[in-house]
Amino acid sequence: MTIHEHTTMPAFTLADVDSDGAIAEAMDNLERFADTRAGFLRKSALAAGGVIGGGAALGALAAPAGAATASDVAILNYALTLEYLEAAFYTEAARVRNWSGDLRRFVTVVGAHERAHVAALKKALGSAAVASPSFDFKGTTESEAAFRKTSQLLEDTGVMAYAGQAPLVDSDAVLGAALAIHTVEARHASWIRHLNGASPAPVAFDKPKTMTQVLAAVTATGFITRAPAMTSSGGSPSFTG
């Protein structure tokens, strides 16, 4: 297979449909949340897409994620949102088309990984976990060419997203989990790039991206069509994905 691409990371184009403001606003909340580290309970409830009363959020966070700070909750929910997106993408791809050969194996293996990442992050967050948004992949799960391109963009973006957050994580438990996922995203990116005839490792140092940069890119795809619904007080967020 020839390697005909040695460029740096591709960028999502902004030409696509701009997603509705609700998502951007929710994501902005996450970002502010991470930046200020203030208002733990109120904002963690907000980040979870629902109102969490009393000490429920604290109790849930204490368990698998260790001493999760408000900032870590925001980062985990950000990661969860990206994993929801990836998991939904591969799950839909596997459903709508009968893939063959290398792509079939890729869709099967990577889809299972992304669903495992979702499950792990939800478990770590407990009742503070944000619900899944709704998605519209605009035909990219059906067309082989579009699938190849979109998968590469999603995986490269995942790598940059985790790299950007790693130094911001407070808890060792959260960091350990994030690093374990980070390199698997890099393996996925390398794999699909190899299948696409692109350089699997285009640069010696992968570039991190901030939450703002990644969310702007995700928003620009138009893949996220609806923010997770707010739930009533004390209830569990409803998962649609």
């Binding site: 985790y162 911001l168 350990g176 989990a177 980070h182 794999w191 190899h194 140092f205």
Partner: protein, 218 residues
């Protein structure tokens, strides 16, 4: 991007030197031992022993960064030399050669970066004997998979032990090691991403595995 990680950023107060000086005087220090001591582990009789518990359990600090960056540098020296010799040996062709050339350039860039970050505290390059694995395509392929997977586990194992500044740099390197691992695995018809969560390994585990290869001779 990574130039901000300077010697000042990882300014050591001699932790590695302290560890080195703490070895039994009767133990003749080879370059390998120096490298491994700098990596936080004392090697005696070819067996890596997880020593220096004070360093292993310590919270992130600039001094500990030096120790960990030298551990990383040892692994990057090993990888860079492996690919350099494989290319020079002339046994590779086609996609394996292309892989070796790209990855060699990356590992050399990682070495240069780590040496730059460590400055005078950078350990010297060990000497190597790859025992024929650079002269045979099948052996090269199998060894490359082990080295790259090991690199991923090594960096991931140090993530919680370094300061945030070093972590930012390490995060930019570790995903490239993961890309290399997946690439050579796909070439070898092995699963490029065999698990949903990559394992992390301690310095003692990594250095034990490296020592077992016998690739580092001095």
């Amino acid at each position: 991007m990574l130039n901000h990680l300077t010697l000042e950023a990882v300014d050591a107060d001699g932790a590695a030197r302290e560890a080195y000086d703490g070895l039994p005087r009767s133990s003749r220090m080879s370059l390998l031992k120096r490298a491994l001591v700098a990596g936080g582990t004392v090697v005696v009789g070819g067996v890596a022993i997880g020593g220096l518990p004070k360093l292993v359990t310590a919270a992130p600090s600039p001094a500990q960064d030096v120790e960990i960056l030298n551990f990383a540098l040892t692994l990057e020296y090993l990888e860079a030399e492996f690919y350099t010799r494989a290319i020079a040996g002339g046994a590779l062709s086609g996609e394996l050669l292309k892989f070796a050339k790209v990855v060699k350039s990356h590992e050399a860039a990682h070495v240069a970066f780590l040496k730059s970050a460590l400055g005078a505290k950078a350990i010297a390059k060990p000497t190597f004997d790859f025992k024929g694995t650079t002269d045979d395509p099948a052996k090269f392929q199998a060894t490359s998979i082990v080295l790259e997977d090991t690199g991923v586990a090594a960096y991931n194992g140090q993530g919680t032990r370094v300061t945030k500044k070093v972590l930012a740099a390490a995060a930019s390197i570790v995903s490239v090691e993961a890309r290399h691992a997946a690439w050579i695995r796909d070439i070898a018809k092995k699963n490029p991403a065999p698990v949903a969560f990559d394992p992390a390994k301690t310095q003692a585990q990594i250095l034990s595995a490296v020592t077992a290869t016998g690739f580092i001779t001095g």
